[in-house]
């Protein structure tokens, strides 16, 4: 038995590291999250929007950032690096150095006075040097931790021994020039690497004029320009003359797909990144014309092609398939692009501004890290991992996620994070967690029936509030409000001694509601809630008035009006507090077992991951054979897929915790997270089996599209890629002769009206199969007729290899598809003539093909709909299962306890299915590893006597948390699923629904607390 630990170190706190840390922490594992920069967050905070949903990047990331800083199982080390890792998996010893911050993080109140007064002004790296910052600064506005740090490289005092201005102006006395680097030695069972990527620096490409021509910027710089919270406040202007650009060129593949710089890989994300920036820029400047210069548009992810098409039809983005060879600048700072088409034609065009879509490359310090941690890099310098073990490094016990081992977009990074977590579990001691609070909790006072006795506290926050707002007057005003028994001021409400004061006042005045006027409840409400519960009050008897972030800081020049506003805000808080009720969080027991639907690669992998972590699994497969689509894959670039299949089946069958139900259909699934009950029926049997489980993983796969085009079915020589693989395996070709001319047509049934999605795997599959054919039949002529070659990531290498071996690639457009005719329509094995327009020679070419291989689409299973209805989850317009969030919850559903893996989510290859299956298992275990979870306190409730069971709430609830009880004719809220958004409450005409913590009464009380009409008359 190997050694087991209860903790893991995660290196790098971008979205990948954060997700890994959160998943582990939720499973009860202690996480040491090590980040080199002063804040967690990584790349995402730099992004304005995310494709293809145009979500605000920071808005979706921030909740995860705050969750990780608040999680009791996560310890965050910022400005820190890993010095060494020694020992064996299950018992590693890691040494971490935390660089001196020179600011006491406990005392700093993040007011920013220090930076304002700091005489040093240096380029801000976060804002891509488009802005200056002080030597003391905060990494970015929403940094977590939010406290300031001093950059020792540029601080005057630390370098020249003079200045110390920050120390003088700091109201909290937080500056500490004696701060030293700290070293921590920790024991961990496993390590997850997630230190991300760097972007390519185009300074090396002189012909693009980066840094010489001011109006040539990188895509990341442009992203900061677009960002509303960025250095330009979201106003897109040319850096050269601050004019609004009217034409904008994006140049793709700058530093990608380039053998000359050993970047013979695709950076995967830049096409979508450019499309997104073009759309957002167009939204900023209505008369802007964005143009994208590209080789292939690689919009291969889920719902990406729809976004691409929309950029053309709705936003008028222009796409020019050509290679930009040179940029020159005219007197007005405009840029003249010289570009070459496939047929050698050269053109010139003038643009106001140029964005270089820079590629992704390994972090500059990855070699150093690889030496310290003893893992290997691949030929491009990324962390090495293999196709069938995509989350393993070459060092046992050390796993990799995010873009560190291959360029990835956000959802794929997040998926690898959860996947890597599943891999660490074999070195960890997992225990199902209890709800019992380990700290000696103070018994709760029963205040029901007591009249409200409100305590109101007004925080100075040093001079942050008190410098603008007359805090004494606000406290006095609060004292005049009905039911306020005590009001007073606190210097720093969140400091330990002030919180003790609050507790004392609760006792002294027998207070049963607390209102604190200070900063924002988003960061401080949990702290104060904890404080009042330590004094025996229910934590929900608390309300905050935000008089700093939303008052003193926003009205710094209008102290009187800011004071008046503060008075109003605290009155509203008090009014709401008067109506507050104590709330309970109900425990929901969790069944540790899981059901996996689908016995293909994804389903089997998920089941194995769950079982290896100790969970009983019911694996349900409709057919009488395991393996799904993997049964039809015989070749891969570097390994044998059939070996993978055999190994996986073997592992599955050997694990006694896995119960395999073959030839079985699911008739019914009842219940909710932690408490599902499913009815299974084996083919030929009339005895349904009922299984109980706490989570469900959907891994039902997808189908190969059957072509209705290109005379498929009319000659044995017109086949699909899957059929080709079988022929190559059996070495049997139609007509009994080895084919001489082979044509492959891409995008058959994909990327067309009604099926506007990319099937993702077919380009790589064509390249792979063509490569195998070329090996078998070196003299064969292979033509691949394509729309865009989408060999993303390291798959690009195989594409260029194939081109090197002489395979011909012919580009076609959907309005001019290749034409296929039978040579002899009486012969079932007839050859076919393929006619296609070749833009390189600018005319039609005709190929007499011995084999016509159709790269057919991945189709969603028709049965998805039934399953979706059973589990009350959604499908997208293509019939694929729709995850909870395209970016940050790629394997979850909005309905808790249901997860997703493999082709059922969308087209993907084996390696990606494996990752996703492990991720789904991991996400399921964040629930299954708990004996119970607590329902939220602020959830909906039904007043049954008012409810008419009209069912609007049931349909409106995004989380399936309300159901109409047909017998009792009332709506029932499922406490386990309700997220407390209140949408149902607003939909309820009868007034039967209400949201605890935000009840109608509480809202009305706040609305009506101010005597506005009289104020106006004064």
């Amino acid at each position: 038995m190997s050694l087991k630990s209860r903790s893991v170190m995660v290196v790098g706190a971008g979205i990948a590291g954060i997700q890994a840390a959160l998943d582990l922490a939720e499973m009860g594992i202690k996480v040491h999250l090590v980040e080199e920069s002063p804040s967690i967050g990584g790349r995402m905070p730099q992004l304005d929007k995310t494709f293809p949903t145009n979500d605000c990047s920071m808005c979706i990331l921030a909740p995860k950032m705050s969750e990780s800083v608040r999680h009791p199982n996560i310890k965050i080390y910022t400005t820190s690096i890993v010095d060494s890792v020694s020992g064996v998996p299950g018992n590693f010893k890691a040494v971490i150095t935390e660089k001196a911050k020179y600011v006491n993080q406990e005392k700093c109140v993040s007011c920013g006075l220090c930076e304002e007064k700091c005489p040093v002004k240096i380029d801000d790296e976060f804002d891509m040097k488009l802005r200056k910052r002080g030597a003391i600064s905060r990494y970015f506005l929403q940094s977590i931790p939010s406290e300031y740090t001093i950059d020792r490289r540029s601080c005057l005092y630390l370098n020249k021994g003079v200045c110390r201005i920050c120390e003088k102006v700091c109201p909290a006395g937080a500056i500490d020039f004696d701060d030293k680097d700290k070293q921590y030695e920790i024991n961990v069972g496993a390590v997850i690497l997630s230190s991300g990527i760097d972007t390519f620096n185009p300074i090396h490409f002189g012909n693009f004029g980066y840094k010489r021509y001011p109006n040539v910027v990188t895509s990341l710089e442009f992203e900061r320009m677009l960002s509303a919270s960025g250095p330009l406040g979201g106003h897109v202007i040319r850096p050269g003359d601050h004019k609004e650009p009217k034409s904008l060129a994006f140049i793709q593949c700058v530093g990608s797909r380039d053998e000359n710089i050993n970047h013979n890989y695709c950076s995967s994300a830049c096409c979508m990144f450019a499309i997104k920036e073009a759309i957002i820029a167009k939204e900023h400047i209505k008369d802007l014309q964005p143009s994208i210069f590209y080789m292939d548009i690689r919009a291969f992810g889920k719902d990406f092609d729809k976004y691409y098409e929309k950029s053309k039809s709705k936003y008028g983005v222009e796409y020019i398939k050509s290679k930009v060879s040179d940029i020159s600048q005219d007197d007005e700072g405009n840029l003249i692009l010289k570009y070459v088409f496939e047929n050698g034609e050269i053109q010139y065009k003038k643009f106001d501004m140029v964005v270089l879509s820079i590629g992704l490359q390994p972090r500059n310090n990855i070699t150093e890290l690889a030496e310290k941690l003893n893992f290997n890099l691949n030929e491009f310098g990324f962390c090495r991992s293999d196709a069938n073990t995509p989350l393993n490094t070459t060092s046992e016990g050390i796993y990799v996620c995010g873009a560190m081992n291959a360029p990835k977009d956000i959802p794929e990074s997040v998926t690898t994070s959860s996947g890597a977590v599943a891999e660490t579990l074999k070195f960890l001691r997992l225990e199902r967690q209890d709800l019992t609070d380990k700290k000696g909790a103070v018994p709760e006072m029963d205040v029901s029936g007591d009249r409200p006795r409100i305590g109101a506290f007004v925080c100075h926050c040093g001079i942050n509030i008190a410098g603008v707002v007359d805090v004494k007057a606000v406290a006095e005003h609060a004292g005049t409000q009905p039911n306020v028994e005590f009001s007073g001021n606190l210097i720093y409400a969140c400091s330990q001694d002030c919180m003790n004061t609050i507790k004392e006042k609760i006792k002294e005045h027998n207070l049963n509601r607390i209102v604190v006027a200070a900063c924002t409840p988003r960061t401080h409400e949990p702290l104060f809630r904890e404080t009042i519960s330590e004094a025996g009050l229910n934590p929900y008897l608390f309300e905050m008035a935000n008089i700093r972030d939303q008052c003193s800081w926003a009205h710094m020049n209008e102290p009187e009006l800011a004071t008046a506003k503060s008075k109003d805000l605290i009155s509203m808080g008090i009014a709401k507090a008067r109506e507050l009720k104590p709330l309970k969080r109900l425990p929901i027991p969790i069944d540790p077992r899981a059901m996996v639907i689908g016995g293909g690669l994804a389903g089997m992998t998920a089941a194995i991951s769950l079982a290896e972590a100790g969970h009983e699994v019911y694996l349900v497969e409709k057919e009488n054979e395991l393996g799904g689509n993997l049964r039809n894959i015989f070749f891969n670039f570097e390994d044998d897929p059939q070996e993978l299949l055999a190994d996986t089946i073997d592992k599955l069958r050997k694990n006694r915790l896995i119960h395999i139900h073959m030839s079985t259909e699911i008739q019914k699934i009842d219940g909710y997270v932690g408490n599902f009950k499913s009815t299974l029926l084996k083919k030929g049997s009339d005895q349904p089996v009922i299984v109980e489980h706490g989570a469900v993983i959907i891994a039902t796969g997808a189908d190969e599209h059957e072509s209705k085009e290109y005379l498929y079915g009319e000659s044995s020589r017109i086949i699909s890629q899957v059929e080709l693989e079988r022929m190559m395996k059996d070495k049997k070709f139609p007509g009994g002769r080895k084919p001489q001319n082979v044509v492959m047509i891409q995008c058959v049934g994909s990327r067309e009206e009604g099926k506007m999605y990319c099937s993702r795997i077919c380009c790589t599959k064509a390249v792979k199969n063509a490569g195998v054919l070329k090996k078998m039949l070196p003299n064969a002529n292979i033509y691949i007729v394509y729309r865009d070659v989408r060999t993303y990531g390291f798959r690009e290498k195989y594409y260029s290899e194939l081109r090197g071996k002489g395979a011909m690639f012919v580009h076609y457009t959907p309005d001019n598809k290749p034409e296929v005719a039978l040579v002899n329509d009486m012969d079932p094995d007839t050859q076919v003539n393929v006619t296609v327009f070749d833009p390189i020679v600018n005319r039609n070419i005709e190929i007499k093909a011995d084999l016509l291989v159709l790269s057919t689409a991945v189709d969603a299973k028709k049965e998805n709909l039934d399953l979706a209805k059973m589990l009350k989850v959604s499908l997208n317009t293509d019939g694929m299962f729709l995850e909870a969030h395209a970016k940050l919850r790629p394997v979850d559903f909005a309905t808790d306890g249901v997860f997703l893996a493999g082709l059922a989510h969308g087209p993907k290859d084996c390696s990606e299915s494996i990752t996703q299956a492990k991720a789904a298992a991991s996400r399921a275990m964040t629930f299954l590893n708990k004996k119970a979870v607590l329902a939220e306190g602020t959830i909906c409730e039904v007043n049954e006597s008012r409810c008419t069971a009209c069912g609007y709430c049931e349909q409106i609830c995004a989380y399936n948390a309300i159901e109409i009880n047909k017998e009792k004719e009332v709506a029932k809220v499922n406490d386990a699923l309700c997220k407390g958004c209140g949408a149902c409450v607003a939909s309820c005409r009868c007034g039967a629904l209400d949201l605890r913590g935000f009840t109608n009464e509480q809202m009305f009380s706040a609305f009506e607390s101010l005597d506005i009409i009289n104020v106006m008359n004064e």
Binding site: R522, A554, H555, L561, G982, A983, F998, E1008, I1012, I1013
Partner: protein
């Protein structure tokens, strides 16, 4: 009437707009102090009646953001 200033009530979603209002403060963006904010868990919480109710209470405008 020349000194008249509108009183505006803002119902802000905790997850986005309320965070946005915080960010405006953190960035020291200055805006007129006429707005009073009530934090809500989601803009979906806003009952149509809230709108008429706040106007009836005397507010001159209501800003729902989410």
């Amino acid at each position: 009437m020349s000194n008249w200033e509108p009183k505006i009530l803002a119902l802000l979603c905790n997850w986005c707009s309320y965070a946005g209002a915080d960010l405006a403060g953190v960035s020291r963006m200055q805006y007129p102090p006429n707005v009073r904010v009530v934090r809500i868990p989601c803009s979906g919480r806003v009952d149509p009646l809230f709108i008429v109710k706040t106007l009836q209470s005397g507010y001159d405008g209501l800003f729902v953001s989410g």
